[in-house]
Structure formats: structure tokens, C-alpha cells
């Protein structure tokens, strides 16, 4: 939808904004501190990793607790591992979605 609007007739204003964008892109990498970029990327990586890990701790843990209370020996844990893994993937997916929605405008 948006790309057809850009294609039809490039008014001077559109053209200017695209040129401005290109110029800003060209300047940004130089202005940005490489340490800051690395730190943010590390933060993102840690976030995704910890989301997955946390669900994979909680799932089997909950399963073991049910096993201990109800005496359903291995089944609680087995189901817990599977559910924990699914919840971990769901966490990661929603974390990425948050990241996309939040965009890089406010945070950066």
C-alpha cells in the first residue's frame, strides 16, 4: 500500500524527505557510539535468553511440584518440560513483538 503511493509521482516534498532520510542514515553510524550499539544488542540478547530460560525453569518446576503433591511420578515433569518450552517460545515471540512495536525511536 505505502510503496505504491511513493512510486506514483515523487513530489518534491517526498523526494526531499527520502533524501533527508538517506542523509540521516549516512550520518548515524558515525555519530553512534559503538559501545552503545553493542550494549543495546547485548541487552536484547540477554532479554530473549532470559525469557526462554525462565519459562523452562518454571514449567518443569511446576510439573515437579504437582508430581510431589499428587504422586503422578514422571508425568507432571514431562508435561511441564513441554509446556515450559512452549511458554518460553511464546515469551520470546512476544518479546520480539514488543521490541518491534516499541520501535527504536524512544529507546535509542
Amino acid at each position: 500500500m505505502t510503496d505504491t503511493a511513493g512510486k506514483q509521482d515523487p513530489s518534491p516534498l517526498d523526494e526531499f524527505s527520502s533524501r533527508l532520510e538517506a542523509a540521516q542514515k549516512a550520518v548515524e553510524p558515525n555519530a553512534e557510539d559503538p559501545n552503545a550499539t553493542r550494549g543495546r544488542a547485548m541487552g536484547k540478547g540477554f532479554r530473549l535468553g532470559s525469557e526462554l530460560l525462565a519459562a523452562m525453569i518454571v514449567g518443569p518446576g511446576l510439573g515437579l511440584l504437582i508430581d510431589r503433591l499428587a504422586g503422578t511420578a514422571p508425568w507432571g515433569m514431562i508435561v511441564g518440560i513441554l509446556v515450559g518450552f512452549a511458554a518460553g517460545i511464546r515469551n520470546v515471540a512476544s518479546a520480539i513483538k514488543d521490541d518491534r512495536a516499541g520501535g527504536d525511536d524512544g529507546a535509542t
Partner: protein
Amino acid sequence: MLRTMAAGPMEQFEIVPLVPLTMGGVDVSFTNSTLWMWIALGVAIVFFGVATRSRALIPGRLQSVAEVFYEFIADTVRGAIGPEGMKFFPYVFTLFIYILFANILGLFPTIPGLPHTFTTTSHIAVTLSLGLLSISIVIVYGFYKNGFSFLKLFVPSGVPVWLLPLVSLIEIVSFLSRPISLAIRLFANMLAGHIILKVFAGFIISLMGAGGVIGLISIFPFIGIVAITLLEILVAFLQAYVFAILTCIYLNDAVHAGHH
């Protein structure tokens, strides 16, 4: 023996009781961890006390910093929860400032003769307490505001009925994993950063000890340690911010349960 020269990279995380205390059979000693929590608290109180003392219309340097902190967190809360979320501002601000000051203070080198610098946020006991506190507020406020319709959080819309038990189970596990992921992230970041700093510092000492031409190579880990220290200052800030904004996102679920 070797302890005097190259202390292990994990030694900095050791909890040392300064004033041994027991209360009803429970060990509640005043430890170095307690001391550094108090220092973080004290520094925060003194900083904001001094910064807001003059209350000038045109802020001075210190007051500007305090105002930047205030506006930064206020924008975060308003952005994530909306204007009605400002009643949680005091909590989120306290959380952010405490974590930020604890992280930054942990980066200071030890002054000889004084107790070792200690990063309280590098212990999972501390970060998990903060995470559980955040999620408890979400649960209590969620039920207080929405009653039992708060449980709609675990029932995503547009899911076929036969799949609902499984999806709800996954949502519940996902919800319960939130405080743990908050805790692991902060603690792992702080732990990893401080271990790397210590290991690089160990390289310098070993290379200098070798002497001669090999000693000259120690400039490389030295450059590395400077770069990593800068990175760690950024990580200290970033992790405090991440903890605060995720608390806001979770609080948003409690405030706006049912319609999203």
C-alpha cells in the same frame, strides 16, 4: 598462599557477615551486601536531597540531572501504561533509581582499607526479591481493579475452545516465568560483567609478572578493560531501565486487563 595476588574472579561475590546476628534461629547478619544496599540508598537520598534543595525555576546542574531522571521515568510510565499509570510512578522510579545506583556503585574500585566494593544486584536473592515484589503488585492490583475478570489475561481471544486448556496452561506458565526472567536478566548481566572485568585484570597482573617483552603485551588487556568498563556503565543503566520498563509493561496488564 596464592590468594594475596590473584584472587579468583568469583571472590568478589562472596557474602561476608560484618555484624553477626541471629533472630529466632534465622541468620540475619549485617553483611557486606546489606552495607552496600544501605550505601546505594544513602547515596540516592543524599543525591536527590541536595539536587532538589534549591528548587530553582531555572535548574542548576544537579537539579537538571534529577529532572532528567524524573522525566525519563515519567515518560516511560506514561508511554507503557497511560496517564492512569502515574499512580505507579513512585514505585517504578524507586525501583529504577535503586537498581541504577546499586549497579553503578558496584563498578567503583575498592578503596584500600575500606570494605570491598560489592554489587548487590549480582545476587539472585536480591534481584528475585525485586522481581517477586513487582509481580505481586501486578497480581494484587489486577485482582483489586478487575476482580475475577483479571483471569481473562490467561484466555487469549480467538482461540478455539478445544485448544483453550493448553493455551491457558502455557499462558499461566509464561506469566509465572516473568519475575524469574526479570531476576535472571539483571543478575546474569551484573555477574558476567564483573567476572569479565576481573579476568581481564588478572591477565594484566600475570603478563606483568612474566616480565620483559611479554610484560609489554599487558597493554592490550588494559585497553580491553577500559572499553569493558565503559560498556559496563552502559549496561548498568540499560538493565535498570529494562527492569523498570518491563515492570511497567506487566503493570499495564493489570491496569488494562480484559481489553487489549
